[in-house]
């Protein structure tokens, strides 16, 4: 008997150690993209006002921290790239296990008509990996992936891979040879990192819109699968007492998707839900400057996202009685996260190598900018459009611009860079003076900033960015002819 007890204890100890090792190695090998986005959703115990659901248009289009800054609304962007409405339904079911938002903002963009999920399996993994193992996660797998014929874009059966969403070692154990520094971070470190953007992510790139011409003769039935799950979302929100706001971000989508988007008017009407079809509000965006080059130019870039977020914030404030938590001590973590968010935005700005991307990332209330144009060739129509987007109306011959992105006020000057001069601008008095060594210095409000003038050959344009809050210089960037045309985000 004594021997048996000894053995049972021995086996139990072994099992505990073994399971701990498996758990640790499972985490080590896992791809962390999902945790990088959503880990803080599960670790932060404070509830949120708004939960943002949908696909990449939402993930890259709405920044929760901007809602916090402007309205004091707490929100989380739990949208995932390629997420269909059925996937969003299960994201909501699972998310409600952890948070009880007052409002759910749901994008009805029918990204994969009549498909239960994206044909890129990695997108499904990125959406669900961070969700802890639970009964609802199991129900999601059982419900969404029961079609044995369903394959991903490479023809691999999704049915066969579905359990990887619950036990992801099957998918990621081959990563032992590709481990990076971040793989050794703990879950809490990811929670900290993901708390900065709260699920959202800005997109670079500035491209023109590829307007889709809809076929007036095309006849499609509204996507039944999407309709079914949209109704489930409506029912779930009603059941839990959550307000629902429907959006449609499906600019220039396919004809089949559009049929579904149009059908949502009736559904929304029937259930008394506000439905904002953004495709009918084109005035919100500048289609020359606000689109990124991903997804056939249908995603908003940084400046587009700022406008989208601002608009959504005003609608949320108008439609729902959401409290402003900015002064509330219970939300001090949000203040901390916001400071980190501002730093992160600065980092994003500094990483941009291409002038157009850089100007897109300057579209931010946080900034004041001084733009010195050494070579007028830089002022192409694209760049002029981006300056215009920032409130700078550049005229011929003008080569010094100052703008406050918060007030959208701007000054323009025509100066001779070879001579000393001084001008009063809305960002203060700027002076360019020769010093004792015969070099030029740059002064703002009497304070020397640089000892050298930019090199005319290497610097066609120089952008000096100040923080609107601290008045500190955030970045000084010079672009030559090459970096104006080339170079992507690092």
């Amino acid at each position: 008997m004594k021997e048996t007890i000894k053995r049972v204890i021995g086996v139990l100890c072994l099992l505990i150690i073994l399971l701990t090792c498996i758990y640790r190695v499972d985490w080590l090998l896992a791809r962390k993209e999902s945790d990088n986005r959503y880990a803080s959703f599960f670790s932060d115990e404070t509830d949120i006002d708004v939960l943002l659901l949908g696909a990449s248009h939402i993930r890259h289009g709405i920044f929760p921290m901007e809602l916090w800054r402007d309205y004091g609304i707490t929100s989380y962007n739990i949208a995932g790239n390629g997420s269909t409405i059925p996937v969003s339904y299960w994201v909501l079911v699972n998310a409600l296990d952890y948070k009880m938002p007052k409002v759910v903002v749901m994008d009805v963009f029918d990204i994969w008509p009549n498909r239960v999920c994206s044909n890129m399996w990695g997108q499904v993994q990125d959406q669900f990996d961070a969700f802890p193992l639970s009964v609802n996660k199991y129900r999601m797998v059982k419900d969404l992936f029961n079609d044995k014929e369903l394959t991903d874009g490479e023809g691999v059966s999704i049915y066969d891979r579905r359990w990887e969403l619950l036990f992801n070692m099957g998918a990621y154990h081959t990563r032992w040879k590709d481990l990076l520094e971040e793989d050794f971070y703990s879950k809490s470190e990811f929670a900290e990192m993901s708390g900065v953007w709260k699920g959202a992510a800005p997109l670079g790139g500035v491209v023109e819109r590829q307007k889709h011409v809809y076929d007036p003769l095309a006849e499609y039935e509204p996507d039944k699968l999407a309709t079914t799950y949209l109704l489930k979302i409506i029912d779930l929100c009603k059941e839990r007492g959550i307000e629902l706001l429907l959006l449609n971000t499906g600019f220039d989508c396919g004809d089949e998707s559009k049929t579904f988007h149009d059908s949502v008017y009736e559904i929304a009407d029937e259930h008394g839900i506000t439905y904002i079809d953004l495709t009918q509000k084109e005035y919100l965006f500048n289609f020359e400057t606000d689109l990124s080059d991903t997804g056939e130019n249908t995603h908003v870039n940084y400046s587009g996202a700022m406008k989208f977020t601002k608009y959504l914030g005003s609608e949320l404030r108008k439609e729902f009685s959401l409290e402003d938590h900015r002064g509330d001590l219970a939300y001090s973590k949000w203040k901390e996260d916001y400071d980190k968010y501002v730093e992160s935005k600065h980092d994003y700005l500094k990483k941009q190598k291409d002038l157009k991307n850089y100007l897109s990332f300057l579209y931010d209330k946080d900034y004041k900018v001084i733009i010195e144009v050494q070579n007028p060739e830089v002022l192409s129509s694209d760049v002029m459009a981006l300056l215009d987007n920032m409130g700078i109306q550049a005229k011929e011959g003008e080569n010094l611009f100052c703008a406050d992105l918060n007030t959208k006020e701007a000054d323009s000057f025509s100066v001779n860079w070879k001579e000393s001069f001084s001008v009063d601008t809305l960002v203060g008095e700027l002076g360019y003076f020769g010093n004792r060594e015969g070099e030029f210095g740059f002064y703002r409000n009497g304070e020397e900033i640089f000892v050298k003038r930019p090199d005319e050959d290497k610097s066609w344009i120089r952008v000096i960015t100040y923080s609107n809050y601290s008045e500190d210089i955030i970045d000084v960037r010079e672009f030559d002819g090459e970096s104006i045309e080339k170079g992507d985000e690092e």
Partner: protein
């Protein structure tokens, strides 16, 4: 249901748990139900074939014992052989025999048009047919008494750990162990777990990893020439060993946990110093089956040297055919028979040569040389086993003979054949572990017994490291195609 699938692991845990939980009288019945379920997971209809084979051989046993004359007994044995081999031939050889007929008739100018039968080869039919037939013959030879309990006998034929890929058990060993009086034996269960871990290591870490390389080369054997094929052929020898020995070891381990001992099918075969020695250590259960039920009845070595050589050739040609309905398998078998016949014929000349040049037969160098020679001969025959057709095998042989690209072994080209550098070195490390384990086995050291004698913490460490190595370095999950066991096709 593959051994290397999560489904099997769940199935096996349930089987073991209920096996020891059920009353002793119900245990065999439970194992029988589990075994049929296990088989029916491939093709439910084909369970009828096992049932037929079981009923025929069960009745043959009873009838043989009841028969009062030798003639009647022989009739029963013949009937059992005809029915069982008839089923085997129909399902395995119909299309092959028809293709031979068409070829022969075509040679004499008669064009036969015979439709190809769409016959799905029942998994493991060669294994359970041979196992069932051995029972009929053992009863006929009075080596055992006929089994009266049908369910017990049915379990003998269908015992799931060794049902689809052996080892081909003898009634003398397995049937007598199927007595429902077993208590849970901790030592046996622990032994079984170590065996299963080793089996999984061989299969998922080694065999399936090597398969990626070998399949890449052999799939495009006319593109990958010379040294690619030499390397792939050498590695195929290791692959098939790890694959088959892996299955057999998992089967042994699973049976051991259920308190049943199966025969060890492999005894470090690649450390053999002659082809005859190799066949005493490779697929031992099949070799001994052929020896007992074909070679000896044919006269063995009792009827002179010439008959002995003929008998050997018959046994190996039939063995080739047993492995697959294809001329290349027959050539493979024939080559292995021929090696032995030529080896025996040349024995006097070899002996003279050895004494003439004063070779020390007991020296390590001599054994190493013989071992290498044996490996080269066996591996050469494997080409016909691996290649899809004889023509393909001949192309491979031709390419190997004219190999002129040794640099591919050094310039990194081999890392572009499905296995990258890191995976390649995991494979090499695994082969070194296998070699050390085989050397230990040849010296009579049972590694798992050595481990079991160590302290608790060390045993735990070995189990944890083994499990983690299998999980991390194993070829499983969606990143890889589910890899079948090579011997299932037989």
């Amino acid at each position: 249901m593959l051994f290397n699938s999560s489904r099997f692991l769940i199935f096996f845990h349930i089987v073991v748990f209920l096996y020891y939980l059920l009353p002793k009288k119900a245990r065999n019945l439970w194992l029988l139900v589990a075994s049929y379920y296990f088989y029916m997971c491939w093709n439910a209809k084909y369970a009828l074939l096992i049932l037929t084979s079981t009923v025929v051989t069960y009745l043959s046993g009873l009838l043989i014992e009841k028969a009062d004359t030798d003639k009647k007994k022989k009739v029963v044995v013949a009937a059992s052989l005809v029915i069982n081999l008839g089923i085997l031939c129909f399902f395995k050889y119909t299309n092959y025999l028809l293709s031979i007929l068409i070829y022969v008739f075509g040679k004499v100018g008669i064009a036969l048009t015979v439709p190809e039968f769409d016959i799905l080869l029942p998994v493991g039919i060669s294994f359970y047919t041979f196992q069932a037939l051995s029972y009929t013959m053992d009863v006929y030879r009075k080596d055992i008494y006929a089994e009266k309990n049908f369910f017990r006998y049915a379990l003998f034929v269908s015992f799931f750990p060794q049902l689809v890929a052996g080892p081909i058990e003898r009634s003398k060993n397995l049937l007598k162990q199927l007595v429902p009086d077993k208590h849970f034996d901790f030592e046996k269960a622990r032994d079984g777990i170590f065996l299963m871990l080793w089996g999984y290591f061989l299969k998922v870490v080694l065999a399936d990893r090597i398969a990626i390389f070998v399949d890449t080369i052999y799939r495009e054997y006319d593109y990958y020439s010379g040294y690619y094929l030499i390397l792939a052929t050498i590695l195929f020898a290791v692959q098939i060993y790890c694959d088959f020995a892996g299955y057999s070891t998992i089967a042994m381990g699973a049976a051991e946990i259920l308190g049943i001992g199966l025969i060890d099918n492999f005894e470090a075969p690649y450390l053999s110093i002659s082809v005859a020695d190799f066949w005493r250590r490779w697929h031992i259960s099949l070799t001994s089956w052929f020896k007992d039920y074909l070679y000896i009845p044919l006269g063995g070595s009792r009827k002179g040297k010439f008959r002995k050589y003929v008998n050997k050739m018959i046994v190996f040609l039939v063995s080739g055919l047993w492995h697959g309905a294809s001329t290349s398998f027959v050539i493979w078998g024939g080559l292995n028979g021929l090696y032995q016949v030529i080896g025996e014929i040349c024995m006097p000349a070899r002996d003279k040569l050895v004494s003439a040049i004063h070779l020390n037969r007991d020296s390590f160098a001599h054994k190493l040389l013989r071992g290498l020679g044996t490996f080269i001969l066996v591996d050469f025959a494997w080409i016909f086993f691996r290649a899809g057709t004889t023509a393909e095998a001949m192309s491979v042989v031709s390419s190997i003979i004219s190999a002129d690209n040794p640099w591919i072994l050094f310039d990194g080209s081999i890392y572009d054949c499905g296995l990258d550098r890191k995976n390649y070195w995991v494979m090499i490390f695994g082969i070194i572990i296998l070699t050390l384990a085989d050397i230990a086995k040849r010296r009579g050291i049972v590694v798992r017994k050595v481990i079991i004698r160590q302290d608790y913490w060390f045993r735990c460490l070995v189990i944890i490291v083994s499990v983690m190595a299998i999980l991390v370095y194993g070829v499983w999950g969606s990143s890889y195609d589910a890899a079948n066991f090579i011997y299932f096709q037989f």
